[in-house]
Amino acid sequence: MPDNPTKTQGAQTPVADTPTEPAVTADLAAEHGLNAAEYDRVLATLGRTPTLTELGLYSVMWSEHCSYKSSRRHLKKLPTSGPQVIQGPGENAGVVDIGNGQAAIFKMESHNHPSFIEPYQGAATGVGGILRDVFTMGARPVALLNALSFGAPDHAKTQHLVSGVVAGIGGYGNCVGVPTVGGETRFHSRYNGNILVNAMAVGLADADKIFYSAAAGVGNPVVYVGAKTGRDGIHGATMASAEFSEDSAEKRPTVQVGDPFTEKLLIEACLELMATDAIVAIQDMGAAGLTSSSAEMAGKGGVGIRLDLDRVPTREDAMTAYEMMLSESQERMLMVLKPGREDQARAIFEKWELDFAVIGALTDTGRMTLVNGGRTVADVPLDSLTDDAPNYDRPHVPSEPRPLLRPDEVPAADDMGQAILDMVGAPDLASRRWIWEQYDHTVMGDTIARPGGDAAIVRVHGTNKGLALTADCTPRYCEADPFEGGKQAVAETWRNLSAVGAEPLAVTDCLNFGNPERPEIMGQFVGCIEGMAQACEALGYPVVSGNVSLYNETEGQAILPTPTLGGVGLIRNLDHRASPGIKRAGDAVFLLGETRGHLGASLYAAHALGHDAGAPPPVDLDLEMRAGGLVRQEIALGRLDTVHDLSDGGLAEALATLMLAGDGYGLDVRLPNDPDGQPLAAHAALFGEDQGRYLVCLPADRAEAFAHACAEARVPVERIGDTVAGPQLAIAGVATLALDDLRAAHERFLPTLMA
């Protein structure tokens, strides 16, 4: 836009509202989520009353969602570097090296509030948003995962929410053609009024062709591409930063509608343009749309930006500057191009039938200047929107520690066989088939391990390498002890990756908590982060991207603290990998790790006592390292192909899974002893959730060598039995269960709930 000067004297530009807009006052600022001190800060920064558009900019950029004002100082505690890390947190997604000049790019994000209000569109647009975070960095998306937390199965809204969310995730991912390969799903009454929908996307790119968001080059054109802007989801970012009340569904403005078809075209068009060298910087328009994308790009690049809003493609009449800047219309991207490359880029986007408009230019002012209808409607220092946004040290108190729960404090079932069937069929452990069969998990032709195992495996196209992917968290543990819970969530993803034979590379996270202005919630947040940090540090498993979702409360009832972790691992040779299903009769069955019968915060205790109780199982990170390393080594050497890690539901769940995932084989086992070789109570041995354990099967003639390898690696191990040809789970002195009965129990819950 040659007629636009790239140098403006910000403070001297007359800045004016559109005449019909309301005057900005402290009250209006409060309605925009800015408290009195924050509004004073705006006044001081500008030295005048902001225009409505400027108020809008501050309100979204200083919202919790965009500014991380409660979490920033704590997120710094997470380890984010390592030899494998190409890009840690701070960009649209994290980037790790996977060898051969290739990189995996991934991130997880929440779409909790919109999904509660409009489950289909809320979940769908969550998938769309996280995909854009990944392909904006130059990656072709190759996998999606989702972590879902719903209310109690019998809560009035649950069925409707499950149905809409699952359909929305499928509707978007299936259409875009990226396989949804894994995730997790839980049900708990603490999510009754505030479900969690966390979506993770993973992409692949050449390590030397990664695109970043820092704008550079004064005078370079700022380009808008994708769908047109409408009045969708104005104030989505502030909505994601406020508590719910009963009438929010009524008051809130429209949630966004996703268009996966346009997203698919946008992916192809962006990747086509990225194959040229026309792009200087690129960023998707996510929460707070044009505002945050332009402010962040220019802010990171240390330049200024001037936008002529009359050039923004709109799909509704008479949109104001305020509306255009705050719209959260989907499927849009902002780019800075090299000068003179506009026509080349335009041709590509027009071929894909997408909008393309040069809407501004970079300046050297360090300010964001917005022009609309011949008026300068905003002119603010960029730093004040980004780096200098509020940053709070909120008061936090640690959670009350819970006492250990001894096995004799938890009633043992009279019929242990029935207890196993109940556990395998319980809402938290029942098969998720009803969900993942609605997701296209095989499109792209590289899905090597489909949903249902410990980690999904997606082949790196055209190679014999694979990425292993998993998403995990145990909110019960986080509630009982945030620090141990944070550690455990990291360790569980690490274990799931190890169980398929993948070397864990890095994690992404999505930290879902209640209202951070309550010291006990802030205490959970800080505790979980510190636990995560310790585990990531010890396991050499850095956090490379993530997202924080606070204010997940309704009527003062907070969700369980839910730091969802998304783990990514690398399998260098796909010929050597493992899965949970029994593959042969006559294999020796080993249990790795220590079994102490820890029932505290376990699913079994919650069922038997009717409430969560006791301290969660501690995680011994040193043992994790040794056990995970051994399992990976044995898999990589081609000596081990049947592995399942133990988590919710303990040994009972693991034994059942080995059979359910197998081809009709059975198990003949006895219960393990405690580390001192003493017998444990049956319910503690079966359902205790001691950490750092794996169940493995391998041909009996290798049993001795395997036991030896374990001893050498200082991994406690006990041979507990054998695989057999008959479809029966026989646990000596406890119960004998038919595979058909296990399957019926396991498959019943979701189809019945959703019928």
């Binding site: 209000i117 409009e118 569109q121 769908a227 409408g230 009045r231 969708d232 569904a249 809130r252 429209t254 949630v255 966004q256 509608v257 996703g258 268009d259 078809f261 346009t262 799909r315 509704e316 219309s329 989907q330 039938e353």
Partner: protein, 79 residues
């Protein structure tokens, strides 16, 4: 008695389907077609015999299930 419920997206809500249909018509050479919006119709056979009661009940069904008033609006027609 029969009820017909027309469910359409609220004005201003993105209608990707309508947009695609519009493009499809244009590609087939139909010009002069402006905005295209698409909606749903649900037809219900009702046991009710009293129109006002029937209308109220269908209205409740719309709010409970048939429409999502966050993005959609509906119109009830008794026939």
């Amino acid at each position: 008695m029969k009820a017909r419920v027309h469910i359409t997206l609220k004005p201003g809500v993105l209608d990707p389907e309508g947009k695609a249909i519009g493009r499809g018509l244009a590609a087939l050479g139909y010009d002069g077609v402006g905005e295209v919006r698409q909606g749903k119709v649900v037809e219900l056979d009702l046991a009710d015999t009293e129109p006002q009661a029937a209308r109220d009940r269908v209205d409740a069904m719309c709010r409970d299930l048939l429409a999502n008033t966050v993005i959609e609006r509906y119109e009830i027609e008794l026939i």
